[in-house]
Symmetry: C2
């Protein structure tokens, strides 16, 4: 793992150089997990041209020369000076990953330094996965698929959407899913994923997910609403993979009874979009073009009014995924990110037909020289439950 | 519910007056839920002496004269001015509930105002629950107890701690637990609660929970570790209640086979502490005194070295609870908060005996004139599984 962390560090440093930072101080759970390989308490101080120092807060124990125990971040400047390091002229702090009060406290720790956004640097470093990370996601995807192969057997006639979801959650947990879903930003709250049946798919939610749903309580207005699944409804299962610190994102749909013609057409259109993007997307392609191609295919199929929502539409067809469910880039029309090898993307062209429900497929992919490799290879048919 | 929200508003305004704020702008999920009765997207602007204005972001719809649709917070000052409101001289923003980047954006929206901490104001307002909130927590507690009455039946000999936890999670979800556990701060990540068996209870965790546990993956190092539960071990179940937007916090312990003498003594000491505090705690009592009494009782029983952890101790015996699992106050020795009627407290005097496991009881209480009312009334005996 030594080389793995050297590799990650070199990616962080490259992003620091682009952002003209002399150092970053990383303290968020997610970025410390990335840099240290495990969730821990403390701060990782990374100068652009010197060895990083890991300041650990008990109960963690320091290990090695470049690790020191602290009780509070105010001790950091003296300890940096003891190492012979200069106080950085410009230091990155995690503006999008730490609460205001914590950044204000750290700003005082570096009172003589200019502070700049370190979240962007970490996001840039994490945008392209290392081969080790891709392997973790490949493993996660296979375990995710193994759970999806048991979804049929979770269904019983007359169930509510929520009961169906709970049975799938149970299988996920028994197969090793950690349950806790790490998401970025403050507008995402969910329990292990989303299951949408029938007209509930067309109920908007205040959260930033691609699909909505009423939920069963105003304190968590998203996903399954407790309705009984009935013939004529589609059932969209977008439940969490997350077995090893990395996540894959995957959606499949079923119907109760036979699928109607429109449902089938929407579902097949989603698959057509995925096939198109799988061969089109490769290093150098602009992400915005993925969105535009998808929207064009939906339009040509006469399905624009259902594309990415009906009464409430979202303006993206996918997103980066990795340690967090929602990472950079966001696959929306105006995004200018250029794809690179080993970016990992969840692509989810979905349709909401109000009287039927949600249709479509979501896979998690890794960008390779030859196109997209599917990390969630599982039957995409719209099968009857 | 109109009077309920008037009541909450009056509590916020009282806290604003104490903090000398002319207005607060509330945008966090948890505080909007408190003020609006449901999770929604937008900002609630509360002047200290005028009607609040709710700025909603689609898909939410404005309702009534004091509600307006916005696309972004930069529209707020003009809309405030249109209402004939002054721009506030001193405005509270949620320093502990919003990320740095969002506060910096809002700071520019109120470029001519002094900004101050609005999180503290909201925490102060929410510290004492309304009678309606206490009723929601009372309901939550009863549903929580109903699940605990089925925990025995989840156990099968030879199970791992994690398998046991997963069966309890399943019962929780089937009984209506929402699953997603709302916690405050950035150092808490967990899936529906914690179950600790045997020596795993003495493994420290980097998170801010009262107890540790190794977890099953370095990406989530807390709680059940996958060990098989064996005779001589205690099993501590601290699984989430959370059925209606409010939470109760509750812990019970079991043993595999017969309890040893030391385990039984520790468990009974926890109950003795609770009985003592139930009659001692009442409006006007300092919370720090609750901690000190508990520590004294543990010391008199010769159990200090196991009290609130063994290899890693925490310095509190409980915390406020409500919409979030961990609210103010923190019941630690140096806390000077004075108890008030309708504060809700989770009190959790726990012991970790390294070779045996964790022991003790946690209840959620509401402070009344006559002492503490237990919202989680359920058999506290240390029973054999």
């Amino acid at each position: 793992m030594v080389n793995e962390f050297e590799l990650r560090l070199s990616k962080v440093r490259m992003a620091m150089t682009e952002a003209r930072l002399d150092a970053v101080l990383v303290g968020s759970t997610v970025n410390l997990f990335y840099l240290a390989g495990g969730v821990c308490r403390g701060y990782m101080y990374i100068p652009v041209d010197r060895e990083p120092v890991f300041f650990v807060i008990p109960p963690a124990e320091p290990a090695g020369e470049f690790s020191a125990r602290i009780r509070k971040p105010e001790q950091i400047p003296d300890l940096i000076a003891e190492k012979g390091y200069d106080i950085p002229a410009r230091v990155g702090l995690e503006f999008d990953d730490l609460y205001y009060s914590e950044i204000e406290r750290l700003r005082k720790v570096f009172a003589s330094s200019e502070i700049a956004d370190g979240s962007r640097v970490m996001r840039r470093a994490r945008l392209v996965k290392t081969p080790y990370e891709v392997d973790r996601m490949r493993e996660d995807g296979l375990r995710h698929c193994a759970v999806y192969s048991r979804i049929d057997s979770c269904y019983r006639e007359g169930m509510t959407d929520l009961e169906f979801q709970i049975e799938i959650e149970h299988v996920l947990r028994m197969e090793g899913c950690l349950g806790f879903l790490r998401v970025a930003g403050s507008r995402m709250e969910i329990n292990m994923g989303s299951l949408l049946a029938g007209p509930n798919a067309d109920v908007p939610s205040p959260y930033d997910f691609s699909m909505g749903g009423a939920g069963v309580d105003p304190s968590l207005p998203v996903g399954a609403s407790g309705i009984i699944m009935k013939p004529g409804m589609s059932v969209m299962v977008d439940m969490n993979g997350g077995f090893n610190g990395y996540q894959t994102d995957m959606t499949r749909c079923w119907t109760v009874g036979e699928a109607g013609e429109k449902a089938l057409r929407a579902h097949e259109c989603s698959r057509e979009i995925l096939r198109d993007l799988e061969s089109f997307a490769r290093p150098g392609v602009e992400t915005g073009e993925l969105y535009r191609r998808a929207a064009r295919i939906a339009e040509e199929a006469g399905l624009s009014s259902y594309f990415m929502g009906h009464s409430n539409k979202v303006a993206f067809i996918g997103h980066g995924v990795g340690i967090e469910l929602n990472e950079a880039p966001v696959l929306m029309g105006r995004d200018r990110t250029l794809l690179e090898e080993n970016m990992t993307l969840a692509i989810e062209p979905k349709f909401v037909i109000p009287e039927v429900g949600a249709l479509g497929v979501e896979n998690t992919y890794v960008v390779t020289d030859g196109g997209l490799e599917n990390l969630t290879p599982f039957n995409e048919n719209l099968a009857a439950l």
